[in-house]
Chain length 154, copies 2
Amino acid sequence: MRVEDLPTDPIIAAWVALVRAGNSVISAVRADGSAAGFPPLEWYDVLWELESTPEGGVRPFELEGRLLLAQYNLSRLIDRMLKAGYVAKQPCPEDGRGHILVVTEEGKALRKRMWPVYRASIERHIGSHLGEAEARSLCRLLVALIPEKPGRPK
Amino acid sequence: MRVEDLPTDPIIAAWVALVRAGNSVISAVRADGSAAGFPPLEWYDVLWELESTPEGGVRPFELEGRLLLAQYNLSRLIDRMLKAGYVAKQPCPEDGRGHILVVTEEGKALRKRMWPVYRASIERHIGSHLGEAEARSLCRLLVALIPEKPGRPK
DNA sequence: AAAGATTGACTACTCAATCTTT
DNA sequence: AAAGATTGAGTAGTCAATCTTT
């Protein structure tokens, strides 16, 4: 379905636009990141979460909720980041089942290098199409779509 | 990054909201579809494109542009749909390199069964959060993000 | 039993290389 | 050479089963 002929039902039209716009903007930003030699977007999110948690360390299941990732999916993502040396896993004192994840110095450095590239990319792919007020409206409307209780993926 | 603490830069906030909302709405709709025993969303799109082309038949590279899929990706998607009997491939008279894709009767029937389920799902996940006017605004803002020349994916 | 987390087997995606026709 | 399309090899995502601790 081309954007030119959106359905007349405004809800369905919004769906089509959401899928289209999301797809094109996100893949454009991904492409910029990988062209700069960076790992995928998700890595940034994980690093950010780990860094912005004050009491150094996050449990995997917490990340799962924040990043909307399935458990097994996160498990393998962490594996890769571990192997790459950007995160570390520590045993959890209060709960023998879990682990505590922390960022390494390399992880912090990587995120610091990634940010300006992604920021510029986002500004380019969104900021050049919308004014500030429009961006605010868009943001408000999109946030309304996010359920409070983000049902665990799968 | 939680929705609660969006960045102050409206452009970046819109980006975060787009990723979040897109992710949650799309995966909710996917889940409804697969709970109903249907193949993935992309199949619907392909069937729809093939059905809505008047002169029975579309070339793969045309679908590529409309669906924002990479060539190799589409190639394998078509393979699966072919094996499942929903589309058929015919030799192309004017261009020996390509093929012409057409929907089969089974394909048309499948799309007919899928539509009410997806429609209801979309109404539930978008329509229950936004009024008609809001949906229209959202749609307009999202469409602004879609580049005219959708640079071929990869 | 339920929660946190991982793993095996399978499916799908990605990149680069390839093939055919134009 | 360029365009349309496919394929092999590697990587990542998915589902169900599993394991450990609570």
